[in-house]
Symmetry: C2
């Protein structure tokens, strides 16, 4: 029964950010509020998730080739070391890479800064049939932009509404947006930063600026609180993913994504030709037979 | 011993197209000239390949973030149903999708046709640190362009030299190009086309034009013969992959790619900061401790 529970309880319902009732301080980053209670249980369930994700992704891709407009966008946000890269590797890595569109949003370039903050994001919206993955996103514009005072307060304050409008517009054009906040504790972040510094094969993932951001952990939590509450809408909800345990984080994001794809329920397109006619051509008029 | 043989014999040497000695008609698409002799043996070896590919790809990616220019480009060519998509799913799918750049070259658009044939290809050359995968490529411009007479003979004839120059230029800018020709038999193609037509979940992969191309199978083989012989160079060799057996095809491409990555031998970059200093900062000056 334990193994099946993960499939029975809707994971999205358990992890969705409800604006009226969400307090980031009450979220335990090490919790396992729904689903598996151990790494091995999670691995077993993930294998099932993988098979279903793969099949749904193929149908979504096929639907796109047949003129369908639908696509899925997985937005990943979280503090350094919260596991955005790990989710891409272990969750996005479960499906055919040809059906993925992965975009990383780093510090905006000078050219990007000359545009509206959503400009560079719009350019990376996945095409129909694809699963897009955003490694950071337009939410940086109400997170680091706010914490580091990169724009006046009046500016970042109006962005919540602009983001809601943008995501509603995406929904209207066939995009199912799934936003996952990977929530880690300061202690776990410390542990992972130490690991990056001690392991020569991980040092490239670290940069000294990470400590400056870490020093502002409380300010970031306040900024996340607002972003999650103000922008968890019916068409583009936020999910708060406890991320201190990597196995739980990966499992939870995979399940949330799977449930979203099930709801999309992509369908293989009707062929634009007659299969019976084509089979007859292959049978009766094949010059190579 | 059988399982180890795949690792001992260099797969690239066994499958490389040697211009002076290559005849496509002598290639058996169902052969297993090197490596595993069964699906289960191939699966066991592929698991080892996967682990090593994954590690090398991460180092390549890291090297790129540190200013390295090197990257790998896997070019896939072959008749319809030869398995280009299957290789992307099962071989490219072995590594972190964040380190991949996949480009599909379909029939050129009107805008693309207004440029030189290499224009759209140059735009898809993988960035440093990435593994690029071309699903079809600039070789279409000496294959379908020749078979269907889309350009005058004088035009496609000069393209072999232009392609060699282009690929030498890529090599000079840090690109290791690995070109795999997936070789299937007319009978196997027929079987796979029938399968696509009979299975409603595969019909989207078929289009009636596939039969027109199939009718020109011999002309395509002649065009492949020339492309492989004229463009298998020291810096960008062609590999002829027997592709009637999917398990062999995937295994062989994975091994060829692995050997190329081993030769690249990417290295994790030296950090631009002092890890000892950073560890001390985390230990002694962490405001969150």
């Amino acid at each position: 029964m334990a193994k099946k529970s993960a499939q029975v309880v809707p994971v999205r319902d358990a992890l969705r950010v409800e604006p009226g009732d969400f307090e980031i301080a009450r979220l335990d980053p090490a919790a396992t509020p729904v689903g598996p209670k151990s790494k091995s249980e999670a691995a077993a369930d993930l294998a099932q998730v993988a098979a279903e994700l793969d099949a749904l992704q193929e149908a979504l891709y096929a639907e796109g080739t047949g003129g369908g407009r639908r696509r899925v966008l997985l937005v990943l946000q979280g503090m350094d070391t919260s596991g955005k890269g790990g989710v891409i590797r272990h969750v996005a890595g479960l499906v055919n890479p040809q059906g993925l569109h992965i975009a990383s949003f780093k510090k905006p370039t000078r050219a990007e800064l000359r545009h509206d903050f959503l400009w560079r994001v719009r350019r990376q919206v996945p095409a129909p049939g694809l699963i897009g993955v955003f490694d950071r996103s337009h939410y940086e514009d109400v997170l680091v932009a706010r914490v580091d005072g990169l724009v006046p307060a009046a500016e970042w304050r109006r962005r919540y509404g602009l983001i809601d409008d943008f995501e509603a517009e995406l929904a209207g054009s066939g995009v199912t947006t799934v936003k996952c906040f990977l929530h880690i504790s300061p202690d776990k972040q410390r542990e992972r930063l130490v690991e990056r510094l001690e392991n020569p094969a991980k040092r490239w993932k670290y940069n000294p600026g990470d400590l400056a951001a870490r020093a502002k952990f409380p300010q970031y939590q306040a900024a996340y609180q607002d972003a999650l509450v103000k922008c968890s809408t019916a068409v583009a909800p936020w999910y708060a993913i406890p991320a201190d345990r990597k196995w739980y984080r990966n499992w939870a994001v995979a399940r949330v994504l799977l449930e979203a794809l099930r709801e999309v329920a992509p369908v293989f397109p009707e062929p634009s030709y007659d299969p019976v006619v084509e089979l007859a051509r292959l049978r009766d008029a094949d010059p190579l037979r």
